[in-house]
């Protein structure tokens, strides 16, 4: 946080950022409202950033990242499934670690962990919500006609926002949703 050239950083609820107050907030506080985007895992650079975060954590715990994942590309799989949301990535890794007494985390264990996490995630979705999420995944656009639904998706991390090269926002569903077996 010290790297940011600012004195105070306000975090605001998603609803405010997407409300009519948007302009007023910018005027009052004299600054732009920025969206903290996900790390774009569709880009090699994004994957590399996430990998480096995990490597740093592993080092701090006294293990090499290669000792944690076998084969090592399993980490890439988890990075992709996190959708570029670091906390989700570590929730997945922690859930896998809770389910074993030894390292490395192999493909079978990760399969099971992902299945459980995805099942958690999909259980509260109604068929209509699934239709809406499929649409977001296809169009990468916000659901402008359903503001309440849209807020729920953003708050509950069913949908993530990414910055495009042109500075605009692109949306996609949480990649864990693709792992849900029984919709």
């Amino acid at each position: 946080m010290r790297a940011l050239a600012c004195d105070i950083l306000y975090t605001i609820p998603i609803e405010l950022a997407y409300s009519h107050c948007h302009g007023r907030l910018s005027d009052i506080y004299g600054g732009e409202i920025l969206t903290l985007p996900m790390i774009d895992v569709s880009q090699p650079n994004g994957m590399s950033v996430l990998r480096r975060i995990v490597e740093a954590r592993a080092r701090a715990a006294g293990v090499a990242v290669d000792e944690v994942f076998a084969p090592p590309d399993q980490l890439d799989r988890l990075c992709r499934l996190s959708g570029g949301h670091p906390r989700s990535l570590f929730t997945l890794i922690r859930a896998a670690l809770d389910r074993t007494g030894s390292l490395p985390l192999d493909a079978n264990l990760l399969d099971r962990t992902i299945r459980i996490q995805a099942s958690d995630f999909g259980k509260s979705l109604s068929p209509l919500q699934w239709v809406a999420l499929d649409k977001v995944h296809l169009d990468h656009k916000p659901l402008t006609g359903e503001p309440q639904q849209w807020m729920t998706f953003l708050r509950a991390r069913y949908v993530y926002a990414y910055y495009n090269d042109d500075g605009g926002l692109r949306y996609d569903w949480n990649p864990l949703l693709a792992e849900v077996k029984n919709r």
């Binding site: 809770d98 958690d120 259980k123």
Partner: protein
């Protein structure tokens, strides 16, 4: 890394892996960790948490108290008393959720307390709850949900399900409150899904779970879903020769068929149940089937047959000392007594049943009995009592989440309000009932309430609207094969045609209704239809024909021992006698009807008979008698709350005073009557009142007389009463219109 290996517990390998994961999570946690353990079965949860404590040491356990004023964090702090346990296990999350509203205040506060938790609870907090509660939690507290670090899933098998069902059975389902029912339904939905996905589950346990879920769904008015579940369970019971369960499932399917107005199917299913019970000797279930057959006979107006079924069932319940069964049968016998107009018997039986239901704290039974007692009060014309009883029953139905029961009570409240001419209130009740019936896909209720909305519109002279309601109800009755409903709807359409002066249509519709009543052998419907045809003939001035119909109706009412119907026909015959100038005979007939109304305790009938006697006295110029009788009737109408009755009394009291040359009194009575007629939408009464006001004004030489007659003529014409329209026009011509009002001068 340390590992904790839990010793075998007879758990599935999946459950065992998850159990070890929970232990590891607790051991490795270095601060506040929020975790969720999904488990649908309390017995499984108890085994797991006790095993975890054996592995990681004693953890603090808190069962949430939904009645406490304190929220989650306060309850935890009170239980921990500043201690720092290895972990905190939280139970009872499902009890804290408001499942209906989708919002729970304490959940919202917990959501805001995330930062506080991280700073003050430096150990893992594990919520142990069923699937549906977790899903609801994730909806109601999404931010807390997204901070969770662990999520562990435990799946129950047949043994756990059997135990969960046993624990659910220990609670009186019918009397449990609505919130608990919803919780039970959601839990059962998850348990059924869990077992369906569990390949090694025992089919009979899955069948039991499906039947329990079907029971919950039927109660909540979701008959189609319940039917599917019961039909899935049935082959399993047949295959395993579980005869009692098969019989109970058939009985439940019969009840659904009855609720969906598939009466033939219901009868077949009830008789199948009965046969199984006889062969394998299950007396109480046999009695249940007999009672259901009785309900079916009652619905189809075969009252004698219904009584036999109920009495046979009652004898079995008595022998088995089954108090609930006895109370239910007593209540059903009371209902039959009501339909047969044996009001004293009905009140006695229904009160007895209500006392029994109260003694065993059965809320469904109490609500049913209260509603039937309301019907008894309503039929006796005590509408205020009826309304109070219906409200009591509605409150109980709402409390226990019985949608169809609540709709029935609202329909009854609507009918009672209609009888008191509180039409707006009646309409609100009926519309609410309609919504509930439609939600529950309850065709019988929906069709009946549409017909009643039609009656209401007809009474308020909104004839097109009335017709629309009847036209919506009629195909529902016809499609569902509800012949009696169809006949009553045709009769209502006939009544609508009569008040609109479409006598030919009215006759044809009533004849159609009569044919149906005759075909199904409903003597009561037949008699009512004959009386309606008599009224129609009277309106057409076919006096002889009218008399024949009335005599036919009278004979049937006497034959089926229906004193209320008999008194009603006597009143109609009295009106006919008055019309024909047979005043003495008319008075005698009214007197005879009065005696019967008083004997059966029918307040409205008594008031109407007194009104008729008052009118007779007025015609015979016995003004003092007329005044006394009409005052007596007015008191009764006011007690009952019948606005229409009050208006008719006041109008006749105005006529009596007019004939006695008590001008001021007459004016006073008529001016009271007119706004009531207008309020309740009685156009004929309004026209009659205006005509009397015209007579009074004309006698006093007032200029308003002309306008009164003109207004009366206009209304008579609009309701197609040509005889009186002509008479009023003639009276208007004989009076002088008032001079035009001078135009006010405009000031400069």
């Amino acid at each position: 890394m340390s590992t904790t290996v839990a010793p075998p517990l007879g758990l599935t390998s999946e459950n065992e892996l998850e159990l070890q994961a929970v232990c590891r999570m607790i051991e490795r946690a270095q601060g506040c960790v929020l975790a969720f353990a999904w488990v649908n079965h309390p017995s499984l949860r108890e085994r797991l948490t006790s095993e975890i404590q054996r592995c990681v040491g004693e953890v603090a356990e808190v069962t949430m108290d939904p009645k406490s004023q304190s929220g989650f964090v306060e309850q935890w702090e009170a239980a921990l008393k500043g201690g720092k346990p290895v972990a905190l296990f939280v139970y009872g999350l499902e009890k804290m959720l408001n499942l209906e509203q989708g919002y729970t205040h304490s959940m919202a506060i917990l959501n805001l307390n995330r930062g506080y938790l991280a700073g003050h609870f430096l150990f893992p907090i594990v919520f142990w709850a069923p699937d549906f509660a977790m899903v609801e939690f994730s909806r109601q507290a999404p931010d807390t949900w997204s901070t969770k670090s662990g999520s562990f899933h435990f799946t129950g098998g047949s043994a756990e399900t059997a135990e969960t069902l046993r624990r659910l059975d220990a609670v009186n389902f019918g009397s449990a409150n609505q919130r608990d029912k919803l919780e039970r339904q959601q839990l059962l939905e998850r348990v059924v899904r869990e077992l369906e996905n569990e390949q090694s589950s025992q089919p009979d346990v899955l069948a039991d779970a499906r039947v329990k879920l079907a029971e919950a769904l039927t109660f909540a008015g979701q008959q189609d879903k319940a039917r599917v579940l019961l039909e899935q369970a049935l082959p399993e019971y047949r295959q395993t020769s579980s005869h009692l369960r098969e019989a109970n499932s058939l009985l439940a399917l019969g009840d659904i068929a009855r609720l969906q107005a598939r009466y033939l199917d219901a009868a077949i299913l009830y008789n199948q149940t009965r046969n199984i019970c006889r062969i394998f000797n299950y007396p109480v279930t046999e009695a249940n089937a007999l009672r259901s057959l009785g309900d079916l006979s009652r619905l189809e107006a075969r009252y004698l047959e219904a009584k036999h079924y109920y009495q046979d069932a009652l004898a079995i319940y008595e022998q088995a000392r089954n108090t609930l069964g006895q109370a239910n049968c007593t209540k059903s016998l009371g209902d039959v007594a009501l339909l047969e107009a044996r009001y004293q018997d009905a009140s006695y039986l229904l009160q007895k049943a209500l006392d029994s239901f109260r003694a065993i704290n059965d809320l469904v039974g109490q609500a049913d009995a209260l509603r039937s007692l309301g019907d008894a009060s309503s039929l006796k014309g005590s509408y205020e009592d009826a309304l109070a009883l219906y409200r009591q029953s509605l409150n109980i139905y709402k409390q226990i989440g019985n949608e169809i029961g609540a709709a029935n009570s609202q329909r009854s409240l609507g009918s009672a309000a209609r009888m008191q001419c509180r039409y707006d209130e009646a309409r609100t009740f009926l519309q609410e009932a309609l919504g509930r019936y439609q939600h529950c896909d309850h065709i019988f209720g929906e069709a009946n309430v549409l017909r009643e909305l039609g009656d209401l519109a007809r009474l308020q002279s909104r004839f097109q609207e009335a017709n629309d309601f009847y036209q919506r109800a009629l195909p529902l009755f016809q499609t569902a094969g509800l012949r009696l409903g169809e006949a009553s709807c045709l009769q209502a359409l006939g009544e609508l045609a009569r008040v609109q002066g479409r006598y030919q249509d009215a006759g044809a519709l009533n004849q159609c209704a009569l044919a149906i009543f005759e075909a199904v052998g409903d003597r009561l419907g037949e008699a009512n239809c004959l009386q309606a045809l008599g009224d129609l003939a009277l309106a057409r001035s076919s006096d002889q024909e009218s008399n024949n119909f009335y005599q036919g109706a009278l004979a049937i009412f006497r034959q089926i021992d229906h004193p209320l119907g008999e008194a009603n026909v006597l009143r109609s015959l009295a009106a006919l006698a008055l019309k024909q100038g047979r005043h003495q005979q008319g008075g005698e007939l009214y007197g005879e009807a009065l005696k019967t109304y008083r004997r059966v305790g029918h307040g409205l009938g008594e008031a109407n008979a007194l009104l008729g006697l008052g009118e007779t006295a007025l015609i015979e110029s016995h003004y003092q008698d007329a005044f006394r009788l009409l005052q007596e009737a007015l008191v009764l109408f006011r007690q009952i709350g019948s606005r229409s009755g009050q208006a008719n009394c006041l109008k006749l009291l105005g006529d009596v005073s007019l004939n006695q040359s008590l001008w001021a009194n007459s004016n006073d009575f008529l001016r009271q009557a007119l706004p009531i007629f207008r309020e309740v939408g009685e156009r004929l009464g309004e026209a009659n009142c205006l005509y009397s006001m015209g007579r009074l004004a004309s006698t006093l030489g007032e200029a308003t007389a002309h306008q009164n007659f003109v207004d009366a003529a206009g209304i008579y014409a609009s309701i197609r009463n040509e005889t009186w329209a002509t008479r009023a026009r003639a009276a208007a011509s004989a009076t002088t219109p008032p001079p035009p009002a001078s135009r006010p001068r405009t000031s400069l």
